[in-house]
C-alpha cells in the first residue's frame, strides 16, 4: 500500500499556470491542478469541448504546460486511442495519455467512443469531471444530473430521472481500475491516479465537481458542499480494482463511524435542489440508508 500523500508531500511542480479562465470557486480547477501533478510531465492530454476548454485558455494562450489535443465532443476516447497507437508505432512507451472530459461529454455524447476504447483495452486514463450538467453551455441537464436538480432545461420541475451510473457502466467493461473521487478530496484523487498509472488497459475516474454557478452556492463553500456529498453517503468514494469493489478514503471512514450526515444538509446547501419536498428528501434518505446498510453488512462479514 502506498503512503497517503499529504499537502506537504504533494509535488510543488505546477502544470497549470495561475490565472485560468475557470469560474471563481470552480471545483474542476482544483481537481485538474492536482490531477496533472499526479499524471506528471510526461503526459499528453485530450480534451473535448467542456468547461475545461475554457479553463485551457484562448488561442494563442494556453493555461496548461502539457501537450493537449482539443477534439470534438463525441471523440475523446477515440482520440486517446489514436495518440496511443502513434506512440506505440514510434516506440514511445513511457508517455501517459490522459483524457479529461465533462459529464455530458462522457455519459451522453462521448459514451460510445469511451466504451469502444475501454473494450479495446487501450492503455490510458480517462477522467470524467462530473459537475452534473452541461455547465459550459449554461447549466442544462445531462445524464449525470441528479434527480430533482433544477437546470436551465428542467427549469420548474427539476430533473425527473435518476443520475446515470457511469462508473458502473465502465466497471462492466472489466477495466483494471475504476475510481470515484471528489474535488473536495484532491489528495485522494492524486493517490488514486498514482496507484493506477501502471495498470493495464483503460482506467476510469469519475470525479464529483462542485460548481458554484450550476449548483447555486457561494463560491467559498465549494469544498464544504463537495464534502457534504460524501459525508451524507450521497456520493461514494470507491475503487474497483480488477473487479474488486472497495470504499476508500472518507467513504471508508464512514463505514467505521457508522454515522452519516442527513442528506437534507447537502440538498439545502444548494439552490438547485430547492424544489425537493420533505417527502422526496426522506425518500432519498431511505435509499441512502439502504445502500449504506449493505456496506455495513459487507464490512461485518469481512
Amino acid at each position: 500500500m502506498q503512503a497517503k500523500t499529504t499537502i506537504l508531500s504533494l509535488p510543488t511542480e505546477e502544470f497549470v499556470h495561475p490565472g485560468t479562465r475557470a469560474c471563481t470557486g470552480c471545483g474542476l480547477a482544483i481537481a485538474y491542478r492536482v490531477g496533472l501533478k499526479a499524471l506528471g510531465k510526461n503526459t499528453i492530454l485530450v480534451v473535448p469541448p467542456s468547461c475545461l476548454t475554457v479553463l485551457q485558455g484562448l488561442f494563442p494562450v494556453a493555461s496548461t504546460k502539457l501537450p493537449c489535443l482539443n477534439v470534438t465532443f463525441a471523440s475523446t476516447a477515440a482520440a486517446a486511442t489514436g495518440i496511443l497507437a502513434t506512440l506505440k508505432s514510434q516506440g514511445k512507451t513511457n508517455i501517459q495519455v490522459a483524457a479529461w472530459a465533462g459529464d455530458g461529454g462522457t455519459s451522453d455524447i462521448g459514451l460510445q467512443a469511451l466504451s469502444g476504447a475501454a473494450e479495446r483495452g487501450d492503455n490510458f486514463i480517462y477522467l470524467c469531471y462530473d459537475n452534473e450538467g452541461y455547465m459550459n453551455t449554461g447549466v442544462q441537464r445531462s445524464g449525470t444530473t441528479p434527480l430533482g436538480a433544477i437546470t436551465a432545461n428542467t427549469p420548474f420541475k427539476g430533473k425527473l430521472q435518476q443520475k446515470k451510473d457511469v462508473p458502473a457502466i465502465m466497471a462492466a467493461h472489466h477495466l483494471s481500475y475504476v475510481a470515484t473521487c471528489s474535488a473536495a478530496y484532491p489528495l485522494d484523487l492524486y493517490d488514486k491516479i498514482i496507484r493506477c498509472k501502471d495498470m493495464p488497459g483503460a482506467k476510469y475516474f469519475h470525479i464529483h465537481i462542485p460548481c458554484p454557478p450550476g449548483w447555486g452556492y457561494d463560491p467559498r463553500y465549494g469544498i464544504k458542499v463537495g464534502r457534504l456529498a460524501v459525508e451524507t453517503g450521497y456520493y461514494d468514494l470507491y475503487e474497483i480494482v480488477n473487479g474488486e469493489f472497495k470504499l476508500t478514503a472518507a467513504s471508508e471512514k464512514l463505514v467505521e463511524k457508522r454515522k452519516l450526515v442527513p442528506v437534507r444538509e447537502y440538498f439545502r446547501a444548494q439552490s438547485r435542489f430547492k424544489i425537493l419536498t420533505d417527502e422526496q428528501i426522506a425518500d432519498i434518505q431511505n435509499q441512502i440508508d439502504a445502500k449504506w446498510a449493505a456496506y455495513y453488512k459487507k464490512d461485518e462479514q469481512q
Binding site: L58, F59, V61, V71, A78, G82, A85, S89, Q90
Partner: protein
C-alpha cells in the same frame, strides 16, 4: 509487376506501399474488403502499422486526427452513411490541417437504405476543405493513393481518394503494382512541422477568437478567419503542387498525364461529355460509337474535384459547342453539383469571349440503377442535336 486484383485490393496495396503507421476503420459495404485486407497485412506482419478496429466512423476519423497530430501517417476508408457520420470529423481534420488520406468507396446514402453505387456520399462532403480525387480504374486507385499521401503531406491538407463501389471496388482488373523501392523514393517518411510530445508542449485546436490576438511573445497570432482563409488559399495553390506530384510520379514510375483532367477524343470534338470516376470510361464506348456516325464528341474525366481545376477545365472546353455533364449525385433542390461548378468555371474564364459552351446536365445511376451504354450513347447523340427540355434530366427513370 502486373497483377490482377479488385479495386479494394488496389487501394489496400497502395496503403501498404505507403507504409501508413496507423489505420482505423469501421466496416461498411462496399469498403470492407479494403480494410479487411489491411488488417490481414498487419496481422501477418507484412505491414508494420497499428490497425484500430474502432466502434464507429466518427471514431475512425478521431483516431486518424489524433494519430496525425502525434506524427503518424494515418489512413481510413469508408462509404455512404459512414462518411456522413464522419462529417464533423472531416471538417475538423481539414481545419486542423492534417494530411490524412481516406478512400471513399462511393455508395448511395439513405434513406431509403441502398447499398449500391452512386456518388452522393463524397459529393456531399465537397465543401469540407478536403482535396477530392476521383479514380476511373484500378491503376488510378493505387497510383492516386500513393500520390495522395505525398500531396497531403506537402500541403497539410487531407485527401479523399474516391472510387465507385462495386464497379471498381469489387471488379478485377490488371494493373501495375509499383515497386516498394520506387514508392519509398517517391514518398519520404512523414515528418510534420509539429507533433504532440511532452518535450514541446502545445495545445492544438484551442478556442480561437473572431479577431487576431497578441501571443505571449508580443507577436500577432491568427484569428479564426485567418486560419480558415489560409486553408482556402493553400487548397487553391495545392493545384500546382498536384501538378508537381504528377510530374514526380511520372519520373519515377514512368506513367502519368494531366493531373486534373483526363480528356478522350476531345481535341476536335464539338461536344464533350464530362463526369467523375468510372462512368467516364464507359462514356468512351459511347464516344467511339458516335464517332463512327461522324458525330464529333469526346469525353473528359475530372480527376481532381476539389480544389476545382477551373482554369484547366475551361481551357479544355473553350470553343466547344456543348458540354454534357453526367453525374451520379446532385445538389438536391438544384442540379448536379459538378454541372454548377462547370458552369461557374466556364463563365469565369470564357464569358464574353464568344467561346462559352452550352452546358446540359444528366443524372444517372442513382442508387446503383444500371447505366446502359446504349442509353448513354443515345443521350449523348440527342444532346448534340437539340437542347434537353428539362435541367437536369434523369436517365433511365421509370416514372
Amino acid at each position: 509487376m502486373h497483377i490482377i486484383e479488385d479495386g479494394n485490393a488496389a487501394a489496400a496495396l497502395g496503403v501498404k506501399l505507403c507504409r501508413a503507421n496507423v489505420i482505423a476503420a469501421y466496416p461498411i459495404t462496399p469498403q470492407t474488403p479494403l480494410t479487411e485486407k489491411l488488417s490481414e497485412y498487419v496481422e501477418l506482419g507484412e505491414m508494420k502499422a497499428e490497425y484500430i478496429p474502432v466502434e464507429s466512423e466518427h471514431s475512425a476519423m478521431a483516431v486518424c486526427i489524433a494519430a496525425s497530430s502525434t506524427g503518424a501517417r494515418a489512413f481510413t476508408a469508408t462509404s455512404a452513411n459512414g462518411l456522413l457520420y464522419m462529417h464533423e470529423q472531416i471538417q475538423w481534420a481539414a481545419g486542423a490541417r492534417l494530411p490524412i488520406v481516406m478512400c471513399v468507396v462511393n455508395r448511395a446514402v439513405g434513406a431509403p437504405w441502398n447499398v449500391w453505387n452512386d456518388q452522393q456520399d463524397s459529393i456531399s462532403q465537397r465543401d469540407t476543405g478536403w482535396i477530392q480525387m476521383y479514380c476511373a480504374d484500378h491503376q488510378q486507385i493505387i497510383d492516386s493513393v500513393i500520390k495522395a499521401f505525398w500531396l497531403a503531406e506537402k500541403v497539410s491538407i487531407p485527401i479523399m481518394v474516391c472510387y465507385d463501389g462495386y464497379l471498381l471496388s469489387h471488379t478485377f482488373m490488371p494493373f501495375d503494382l509499383p515497386d516498394q523501392e520506387k514508392v519509398d523514393a517517391f514518398l519520404p517518411p512523414f515528418k510534420p512541422e509539429y507533433a504532440l510530445n511532452p518535450d514541446e508542449p502545445a495545445s492544438l485546436n484551442t478556442v480561437t477568437l473572431p479577431d487576431v490576438r497578441i501571443d505571449v511573445h508580443g507577436e500577432l497570432a491568427h484569428g479564426y478567419m485567418e486560419i480558415r482563409y489560409l486553408l482556402q488559399e493553400e487548397l487553391r495553390t495545392s493545384l500546382a503542387v498536384a501538378a508537381a506530384a504528377e510530374k514526380r510520379f511520372a519520373e519515377i514510375f514512368g506513367r502519368g498525364g494531366d493531373p486534373y483532367i483526363e480528356p478522350y477524343r476531345c481535341d476536335d470534338a464539338d461536344y464533350v461529355a464530362v463526369g467523375l470516376g468510372s462512368l467516364t470510361y464507359q462514356l468512351r464506348v459511347s464516344v467511339d460509337a458516335l464517332r463512327k456516325e461522324d458525330i464529333k464528341v469526346g469525353v473528359m474525366g475530372i480527376r481532381f474535384y476539389r480544389p476545382f481545376p477551373d482554369e484547366a477545365i475551361a481551357n479544355a472546353l473553350k470553343g466547344k459547342k456543348g458540354v454534357i455533364v453526367f453525374e451520379k449525385a446532385l445538389s438536391y433542390g438544384y442540379e448536379g453539383a459538378l454541372a454548377s461548378d462547370l458552369k461557374s468555371a466556364l463563365y469565369e474564364h470564357l464569358a464574353g469571349t464568344g467561346h462559352l459552351p452550352l452546358v446540359q446536365n444528366f443524372i444517372a445511376g442513382i442508387g446503383g440503377r444500371e447505366i446502359r451504354t446504349d442509353d448513354l450513347t443515345q443521350t449523348l447523340r440527342a444532346a448534340t442535336q437539340s437542347r434537353i427540355a428539362k435541367e437536369p434530366t434523369w436517365i433511365g427513370l421509370k416514372l
